[in-house]
């Protein structure tokens, strides 16, 4: 039994002043996320994904039920001090995180989080240096203004600002939105590396390829409800479930389906790489003769 890093039990959430019905509300969420796992949260726009992760970061407090993150338990009457303690362990990379940059230099901006944690200057300095290197930015950039960087560099600088706090849980809300294919791959392999080093990853994404390639747990949200929490293999072998929740199929699954419709049977492949492996072994076998 792996220790659960995050546990939501019977969580309901409504905005205090919400006027009409279901927008941004969550109903009866039960979810367990294991420490060190890589969890993808998917669902169409407005399904409640962002609200869900805001609860995990203590930016919102449940109207009822409880959210447990590490040793901190959050209920409707949570204190600010508890929430602050929770946020020390959770890093949150918002959508378009480059919009949060504010300091005169990249290094100062990256230091903002660690300084808020009250770390001693040497520790802050070391963390800044390391996280700038981790996101693949050259050292000299630390001295430059964040506003002079290119779009992709700004994104990485902002992510460095979150990583510098050494969170044990990292939430990323569509971190690759607006990036080109190459930067997307770089960012995703960085996240995979952090995960391999023990960080619990929660990734909100619209890209099913990312879910198929990286996640070991996938949570489907729809209209503020948790539809299912399962493994990608199970989700992607259930076309009906995907269709019901307005989700696309990964390319490899789509291709396999089309080949199967023509009468070819192939083992399940989540990524194009896996599909190519299966296909190559079949075609290659014939070519050898």
């Amino acid at each position: 039994m792996v220790m659960a890093a995050i546990e939501l039990s019977n969580v309901n959430f409504t905005y205090p002043n919400s006027q009409r019905g279901d927008a941004n509300t969550l109903s009866d969420i039960n979810l367990s996320i294991a420490a060190g796992s890589y969890t993808a949260i998917i669902g169409h726009t407005g399904s409640g994904k962002s609200t869900l992760v805001s609860l995990i970061d203590g930016l919102l407090v449940p109207s009822s039920g409880q959210v447990q993150v590490g040793k901190v338990t959050v209920t409707s009457d949570a204190k600010q001090a508890d929430l602050a303690k929770l946020r020390q362990h959770v890093g949150f990379v918002f959508q378009f995180p480059e919009q949060q940059l504010f300091a005169e230099t990249v290094a100062q901006d990256v230091a903002f989080g660690p300084e808020n944690l009250g770390w001693p200057p040497e520790k802050v300095k070391a963390a800044v240096k390391q996280s700038i290197a981790d996101v693949g930015l050259p050292k000299e950039i630390g001295k430059r203004s964040p506003f002079m960087l290119s779009g992709g560099q700004m994104r990485r600088a902002a992510i460095a600002g979150v990583l510098a706090m050494k969170p044990s849980i990292l939430i990323l809300d569509e971190p690759t939105a607006g990036l080109d294919a190459q930067s997307t791959d770089q960012l995703l392999s960085l996240v995979a590396k952090l995960n391999a080093a023990g960080t619990t990853i929660i990734l909100i994404t619209h890209q099913m390829e990312q879910v198929a390639a990286y996640a070991d747990q996938v949570v489907v949200m729809n209209h503020g409800r948790l539809v299912t929490s399962t493994v990608p293999q199970k989700l992607f072998s259930n076309p009906q479930l995907l269709a019901d929740n307005h989700l696309a199929q990964p390319v490899a699954i789509k291709m396999r389906k089309r080949l199967q419709d023509k009468g070819l049977s192939l083992p399940l492949a989540l990524t194009t790489d896996d599909l190519a492996d299966h296909l190559a072994s079949r075609i290659g076998g014939e070519a050898d003769e």
Partner: protein, 267 residues
């Protein structure tokens, strides 16, 4: 993303008040505020309150919604009233401590101020709850028309106001997002002295400025690409229509005014 009802937000509907021409409503609201300063006694104040209550009923916007719109401002009102009570002098003294005292005149003055605050805020909420902001801007530009004679660029100002109004929710949402991002990086708003708290606004205000400038630049390019030329004449899609209900409303208001001054003379 935040659904909180803020002061001055529009409540969709089709009541008589919703259908009135915005010029009528804007004029009535301003004129009513002026009238409030002529109410000098309990009876005259009560008369204006009744007039306002009737309007609120006619607007078909629930009293609960009005209250939710006004509630956030209650603190400002109460603090002002408290100051008035504690620091004004004159008349019988009931209690005093240092420079603070509670006097008869102070109580009366604060009561008047409380009344004025409440009805003025409520009246403007009636206006904003029944009129989309852009319609108010339309009305404002109509009233500004005469200024064209003295070369005031009324059309540009109107467009500017309507764009500013259009972007308020966008910028508010952005501010919320940036605040959350900085909170999640360990920023704590609640602690420390006032100076330290103000300094903490920097990580929110700078990104907000940067973002707003970027938006402004992109919007300017988009407007130019769509053929906008500030110097060139433009036609106008949206027009205002004066109806008989507007004339009737003005007449009713005249009646309210006459009765108010009548009461002042009699009492």
């Amino acid at each position: 993303m935040n659904n909180a009802i803020v002061f001055g937000s529009y409540v969709p509907g089709s009541s008589l008040l919703h259908r009135l021409d915005p010029r009528t409503k804007l004029f009535l609201c301003v004129a009513y505020v002026v009238l409030v300063f002529f109410a000098n006694s309990f009876v005259t104040s009560a008369w204006l309150t009744v007039a306002l209550l009737v309007t609120m009923v006619l607007s078909q916007v629930g009293f609960g919604l009005y209250w939710r719109g006004i509630r956030p401002l209650m603190w400002i009102i109460l603090i002002t009233v408290a100051f008035q009570i504690l620091f004004s002098t004159g008349g019988k003294v009931y209690w005093h401590w240092g420079i603070m005292s509670i006097t008869h005149d102070g109580l009366v003055n604060s009561l008047i101020i409380f009344f004025r605050f409440m009805v003025i805020i409520t009246a403007s909420t009636v206006l904003t709850a029944t009129t989309p902001t852009l319609r108010i801007a339309d009305a404002l530009s109509w009233y500004m028309k005469p200024l064209r004679v003295v070369k005031v660029p009324v059309n540009q100002i109107t467009l500017m106001i309507s764009i500013a109004l259009r972007f308020i929710p966008t910028i508010m949402e952005e501010a919320g997002k940036i605040t959350n991002a900085q909170r999640s990086r360990g920023m704590n708003f609640a602690e420390g002295s006032l100076v330290r708290r103000v300094r903490r606004m920097v990580p929110i205000l700078i990104p907000l400025f940067v973002d707003s400038f970027k938006r402004a630049e992109e919007l300017a390019t988009a407007m130019e690409a769509r053929g906008y030329d500030p110097a060139a004449p433009r036609t106008h899609y949206r027009q205002l229509h004066w109806a008989s209900r507007d004339t009737i409303s003005l007449c009713l208001f005249a009646v309210v005014t006459v009765i108010l001054f009548g009461l002042r003379i009699i009492l």
